[in-house]
Amino acid sequence: MSGRGVSISFGGMKAVDGVDFDLREGEILGLIGPNGAGKTTLFNIISGFLQASGGEIIFGGGKISGLKPDKICRAGIARTFQSARNFPGFTVRDNVLMGALFGKPGKTRAQAERTADSTLEFTGLDKYAGMYVSDIPLSAQKRLEVARALATEPRVLMLDEVMAGLNPAEVEDAMALVREIRGRGVSVIMIEHVMKAIMSICDRIIALHHGRLIADGAPSEITENKQVAEIYLGEA
């Protein structure tokens, strides 16, 4: 997946301004930047939630910018939301089942149920399967976001701060999960503020500031990048 000159503005203010990016096959790409840098907005554009005012996004040989979220999901790009947006009236299993049922065209009911169960097991949520979302702990809710997206069987998974609010042990678990997801051949692009996590699991990192791309490189290069250190790491 790659983006060229992706831009959007809200009321005259450019929230994302001419961003170029590439996500390579089987890669874990980190997306960092201070609050308001346009990270989630970029996610929203990729997932079709917002329409870019300029530039284009190419995925699997075709242009996907301009498509609606459901088409983009069916094309193989799934995402999580920063604030968990699950279905409160469904059990954990049904939440995941919905992803399996609608995310991939042409699936039978039985196939979807199988995908849902294996995804629950893979993400370690099987013990909560029959419970409602409000009754499970925060770390499990974060995992449920991932599981629901994963059940759509994407080729690209976009994770928006799935580690926020977790304790160190849970962050370790989440990192292991992300690695396993990549191990299944899914490319991952993740927004994260937990620096330790992002530095250790990402193959490559891009940094945004005021909607502009300011750095692109391996984690070691990013930590040495002066501009990033100044405006991002320096602040933290």
Binding site: S47, G48, F49, K68, P69, D70, C73, R74, A78, R79, F81, R85, N86, F87, P88, G89, F90, T91, D94, M98, G99, L101, F102, G103, K104, P105, R109, G130, R148, A149, A151, T152
Partner: protein, 331 residues
Amino acid sequence: MAFIKRVLPGTARGRLHLGALICVAAFLAVFPGVSRPYTTIFTASILMYIILSLSWTFFSGKTGYISLATAAFYGIGMYIEAILGRYIPLPAAMLVAAAAGFLIAAGIGAITLRLRGVYFTIFTFGLVLLLQNLVLWIEIRFFHTKGRIVTSGDFTFVYYCILAVFVILLIAAVIMRRSRFGLALECIGQNEDSAAHIGVDTTRTKILAFAVSAAPVSAVGAAMATRVGYIDPNIAFNLLMSFMPVLMAIFGGTHSLYGPVFGALVLTLLEEKLIRGYQEYYMIIFGAVMIIAVSFMPKGAAGIAESVFLKLRRRLRPRSHPRNDGGARDE
């Protein structure tokens, strides 16, 4: 077989509901034979309101997009019977009406369901008045008349036609509940953005659901037209027919099939008692019921009944865990 197995409720509680349903349907089927004509007519209007509020709940209750177009589809049904009643039997006219309601709703949905909910409400609200004015204009301009005589039918037959719509609607609602389409709709109701992001084509699902919900309303409109004898645009497109189903559904509760049925039953009986001589008071009561239901009964009367039931059961059997009895999924 697999299909039947999937549709039939798997739990004891589910089977109890199904049994109750079959009993009610059987009772309603023999009802005209044992009751006075007036009671049959009255029962038919209760059924009519139940169908209207169930249809409303099917779309608006689930998705939260509040439709005020019920009167429009009902009136379209009435006009189709008024025009075709002389040439084809009632069931055929009802089918035509259902198809017309479906298509018109699909058109309206295609324009408004891409937008925020408030536009949809505004548009459906105006639609009733638009049709009222448009039909009146057409009638006067091209047919030089204000109203039409509707061929009246044998009322027991009309009753059975309405009962048939009711039974079909219930069966469809039960099948729909765990179907792909029903689940997509459920997802939209719970979180529309999330639904879109896991691959649900939200716009198409909403449009289809709205169109489906209009079909029974138009069919019943066609059937009820034979009872009124004469219709004009003010009778056919009466805004009250938009408000009543909403009120009945909200009062009864939109989270289960029982809610709208209960709401329609209670409020139709109330209407029957108060309509003569106390019309203003009955409308004031309706207004108050609407406000109270929205502000204090988020799950309606059915929700209250259920929580009372659960509380009682917990008191009687203190060690049971109602959450895990497996029946909860079918709710």
